[in-house]
Point group: C2
Chain length 387, copies 2
């Protein structure tokens, strides 16, 4: 046989991604041009595009007119985009990622309304809604254009500006998902006013996280603005969200965006946090769990002599001064389970060798590949006492 | 408020993809180094990787020892890769993409065996199995490394070397899926010997398709090798598969790999084919439907005076000489349904403006944006008479 028929072939290509995150106030105010200008700029061919809007149920109680405001906003845009069917309202929070019926209802709507790859899905809500809608958009017709309008601190400064989506599978958090950038993100500052105190606060955990492993100046800024941030100063929060989103986006674009290799996402404090969320049956918010997870890994960093006692105190003080509770009884009750199955699930989800990010100083990460039982137990004890 | 807090952020990055398609004979022969060498070359860190193997049930009747051969092959590789659990055997063909229980059983296995993002899923079988396993691999943990071992003409020369995966959703073909390149593909020529005559033949439809729209020389080669190809000459088939795979991979890498824009996949003859597969309740093979779809669009191209009668005859003759039946009664019985809902579903799946590829000559595509009812009816009548 002619061996030419057996010569190997290689396929090599790159795929370009680009999206912008705009910061605005009152996105569905008829005078606000942000979303309208974007949609008009995307109208490249003559066709009117379809859009399916999915709204976080939690917003309705704060903004009873939101559905009609959205409809009115799009009424002025019918030559550019047409809303299909009713605006879908889905309960936010972890429940929408846990219960497959929500996933199914969205896929059914994509089919029913003929939402195609050039149409839009517009997700408005907290991180869970954005994750769910993002996943549906990513796998329906192999990818519908996704516009995210995050409405919480956490989603505006972290997941909502990133490239991931997911749902849970039989209690395993984010087991199913893809890497699929949105085509645009609109952070509307005014939505943050609707947050209850826990959601206002818990979203700041990701900002503290990113400051601890990336940017000491940002940590210092948060420290000196603790009072304003705790007292719901919208301008201070606007800066926190903007800077956190910026650091998050830089990490993605300059690193390994789809995490093919062993490079790490920004997951300081997250290994125990994921397990703790589950053990608390999601009674604590993601950010609250991350604050506890960061406190734990900060104490552990000090136990291993990576981090000074002065810096340890400073970090725990910041968390406490912002109102975070940095201990949870489930942490002490399930220490071994958190250690073993928590680490294992964390490793499995990211793949490859276990890598845990600790701190060698504020703004200075240090990676380790194991957690020792004794130092962890000491860290849990320490936290229980200082809380 | 300081307007700096409102300045937009932009994320821009590119993601690199690279994979090779190797052509081999007897991939699980202990003396065959192809797969072994690849797996060893991928062992970058000290860890032994896990692999979950999924096998097309159809292969077992032809190769009753295949499961034990695969196990023996991996027995010599335990420091590099360890098979987890049993080799999973799934019925091939459209049923595995239609019935969600197969999808679910694979995701469960990923969870149960702790298959992580650095582990492998190895799919061995026809295009449907590769699509299903590829979809599970793409969405579990946001992407497990996929190795494809296509075993049919169709999958070796087309889908198995491409970047897509999918399952069906309530009868809608490929409704759910992603763009996710494999990390490697191994085309084993010997598996083609196991194919029944219909599968041997139907896979050639994609080669004819790509020759008609991309490469007249390849068309001439197929024409002059009709006899060998029909009579199951393995060397002739090796060339056909290799050239078709090459053209397919070039189109992906040099075009718009994830089809973000309006560029077309290589889908000549496919709009009616998809609908016909469905109307025949999948009693005809994908390649058989594509042959009919190509015959229809070729006649239509002539009806519209794009394509000469000489070239029309030549194309239909080639299809018939290879043994393709180029008409199906469902075509005449459901002419209007095929025209309207077939075109609509085709447009919706790809999104944007309807674009149908026709022929202006052998090797010369021509795009149109509508199909007229009368010329289509004439084309169906024509086919019914010449079949």
């Amino acid at each position: 046989m002619n061996e030419n028929f057996l010569s190997p072939l290689t396929s090599q290509f790159q795929v370009q991604y680009r999206y912008s995150v705009q910061f605005t106030k009152g996105i569905f105010d008829l005078k606000n041009p942000s979303l309208r200008d974007f949609l008009i700029s995307e109208k490249k061919d003559g066709d009117t595009k379809k859009a399916l809007v999915v709204l976080d149920q939690g917003l309705i109680s704060h903004y009873p007119n939101l559905v009609s405001e959205i409809k009115e906003y799009f009424n002025g845009l019918t030559l550019v985009v047409q809303l299909t069917g009713d605006i879908m309202v889905i309960p936010g929070g972890e429940v929408c990622k846990n219960d497959p019926q929500h996933w199914d209802s969205l896929v059914k709507a994509v089919d029913l309304y003929g939402i195609d790859r050039h149409s839009y899905m517009i997700a408005i809500g907290g991180g869970a809604i954005l994750d769910l809608v993002g996943y549906v958009a990513a796998v329906s017709h192999r990818g519908i254009r996704l516009i995210r309008i995050p409405t919480t601190v956490l989603s505006q400064n972290d997941s909502g500006v990133g490239v991931k989506n997911s749902i849970n599978y039989h209690g395993k958090k984010n087991f199913l998902g893809t890497f699929a950038p949105p085509i645009a993100v609109f952070n509307d500052l005014l939505f943050l006013e609707s947050l209850d105190v826990r959601d206002w606060r818990s979203g700041m955990a990701e900002a503290i996280k990113v400051s601890l492993i990336k940017d000491k100046d940002f940590f210092l800024w948060i420290e000196s603005n603790t009072h304003s941030l705790k007292n719901r100063d919208l301008e201070a929060m606007a800066y926190l969200v903007h800077r956190c989103a910026e650091l998050h986006m830089e990490h993605i674009a300059n690193g390994d965006p789809f995490e093919f290799g062993s490079s790490r996402p920004l997951d300081f404090g997250h290994w125990a946090a994921h397990k703790l969320e589950y053990l608390s049956e999601f009674s604590i918010r993601h950010g609250e769990a991350v604050a506890i997870g960061m406190a734990l890994d900060t104490v552990y960093s000090n136990q291993k002599n990576f981090l000074s006692k002065v810096e340890l105190d400073r970090i725990l003080d910041l968390l406490k001064n912002l109102g975070f509770v940095i201990f949870h009884t489930k942490l002490a009750e399930n220490e071994k389970q958190i250690l073993y199955s928590g680490l294992q699930e964390f490793r499995e989800h990211l793949g490859g060798k276990l890598t845990i990010m600790l701190l060698a100083g504020i703004g200075i990460p240090r990676e380790v590949h194991e957690i020792d039982e004794k130092s962890l137990a000491n860290s849990v004890d320490y936290l229980e006492q200082v809380v």
